[in-house]
Symmetry: C2
Subunit: 337 residues, 2 copies
């Protein structure tokens, strides 16, 4: 219980004022090297660090950023958070992840985070923002950056999902495929994800380019999980004339689909080709052809923008950054049988 060393104790034992201790310990200028040294020594002796709770109140900054994601368990979002955490750690910010479970809860959460000053800034991933959300965030002046979701209101980091999907499907077409299945997200999605539509647009564009008519029957609902991919694939295989190739809107769905294909006694790619999206970290080991995007780079980029926004709140230019994608051809795509 002897455990309440404060900045005053350090000040006293160093023979300086608390102001000087604060400056010395935070590495601020206007402290003589000798003084700084002495203060640091005393602080170390007494096992002292500035109390973050008091600092945060006095400075008016919570030194915390929020990362809001629809699903924390998924590889993609963890990759994102990890990159953001690493960057923020270097800048002395704590990062806490918040899981978005629905539009209503989401609005409440944003409101709560902003009004209680729990975070100095927020990175919002993938989900749609309602007008109310935007209003709120702007009124409350919380710095915001979005990932995987462009908005006119905040800086964002995205890729060109439509173009990337087009590349994927073109790859399939050039291998001779005409009947190309599409395993997408939920058709009716409560969180308002737009990625599925963007990628579907790319699929349609590629077909159109080659004058291949779109077949609604080949478009099946998945939910971005392996289980969803497996089920969707089963529906595709049950069709009168199943597709000879499938474009899956995520690698994890592709992995599920591959299981279904193999369980049906079919070979990949001899009987059926499959291409995913993401370049999931194990896709290399599964030989999955896919569209690569650098997920960590999304996180790092968004983090850097947020940092700037927090330091300099009147930075007026809403930058929206679009990162590149790349077709990675491996073993799951081959010529039409």
């Amino acid at each position: 219980m002897a455990d309440t060393v404060t900045i005053e104790d350090i000040a006293r034992r160093s023979g300086v004022s608390t102001a000087t201790v604060s400056r010395a310990l935070r590495g601020l200028p206007n402290v003589s090297p000798a003084t700084r040294d002495r203060v640091q020594r005393v602080a170390a002796e007494l096992n002292y660090s500035l109390d973050s709770r008091a600092s945060r109140l006095a400075s008016g900054r919570s030194m915390t950023v929020g990362v809001a994601v629809p699903m924390a368990g998924q590889w993609f979002f963890n990759q994102l958070s990890t990159a953001i955490e690493a960057l923020m750690f270097l800048n002395n910010y704590d990062v806490v992840r918040y899981v978005l479970v629905g539009p209503h809860e989401q609005t409440l959460l944003f409101h709560q985070l902003a009004t209680s000053k729990r975070v100095d800034g927020l990175i919002i991933c993938t989900v749609a923002l309602t007008d109310e959300d935007v209003q709120l965030l702007q009124d409350l002046q919380l710095p915001v950056v979005t990932i995987e979701k462009e908005t006119p209101h905040f800086p964002s980091v995205t890729c060109d999902n439509t173009a990337a999907a087009e590349v994927a499907v073109r790859h399939l077409i050039e291998l001779g495929h005409q009947d190309i299945g599409l395993i997408t997200g939920l058709f009716q999605d409560p969180m308002g994800f737009t990625i599925p539509q963007e990628r579907t647009d790319g699929y349609l564009k590629a077909l159109a380019e080659y004058n291949i008519p779109f077949q609604e029957r080949l478009r099946i609902e998945g939910n971005f999980s392996a289980a969803g991919g497996a089920e969707a694939m089963a529906k595709l295989l049950a069709l009168d004339s199943p597709p000879t190739a499938v474009f899956t809107l995520s690698d994890e769905m592709a992995i599920g689909a591959m299981k279904t294909i193999r369980d049906a006694g079919l070979r990949i790619p001899q009987d059926i080709s499959i291409i995913g999206f993401d370049d999931f970290y194990l896709s290399e080991y599964l030989g999955l052809t896919t569209i690569r995007q650098s997920v960590s780079q999304y996180g790092e980029t968004a983090g850097a923008i947020l940092l700037e926004l927090m330091e300099n709140p009147d930075s007026p230019h809403v930058k929206s950054i679009e990162l590149p994608t790349q077709l990675i051809i491996r073993d799951t795509t081959g010529p039409r049988p």
Copy 2:
């Protein structure tokens, strides 16, 4: 800029004191329903929430818990964090993950977290604690729970790794295998993981049970990644008489190993059997036989203990909890060729 509503404003407009506002808004007892209602209404009108920075200083609790992990990007640790986050969110705690990069940085981090009061409690995963760490954490009175690492000093949540590994290897032996490869962690590991040794012990026990001599040549170093598994498997296949089955200390290494096996033109399990450990979320889709442990349950259990420790710091009983594991037989293990 009109944006500095404080508890006093709410108090004034509600015609009560700040103390009452505080009580009303926090859901504490001893507030009449009418008063609480009025206060809540006023707070809502003014978009007010209690300032978390001020609350934390005044209450002396940071309402934040740390989760320290050696690798944030890995599925296992993300699963853990996600479970902890969900539980803590319900209890109004923020959780922030800290990545442990080495024994020295680790000690520094713990010291910093504790002295700066950045966290009210800490969950430490997998890594070894040095005597210095233990001393520090105890002196500074920071509530600590460990996962995947038993210590006499703090409550822990683990499984019986040795017994589980024994089950895995016994499964292989009962299928007729005698030459059983072992792909383990780094032999010299800077973070002091003990899991590899514990599981290796299980491997040895199973062999001994059946009087199968241990062959050092079959024990290869991996690093708990798919890449490490792939490389280790290559070494195993290069042996004069390669094993007919392999026990891999994680599913992710197994996935890497499976690629190597298939690339070599060998069939699983006809030519070689493989069994992993974890029951990674995609293992089902890869047909991987494995030992299942409930990772989320580790997180939830550790979180619950930490919560209790934080509420009740003098809770003297260091509970150590051991969770069950289970052999999940799928398609990668079969009779010896």
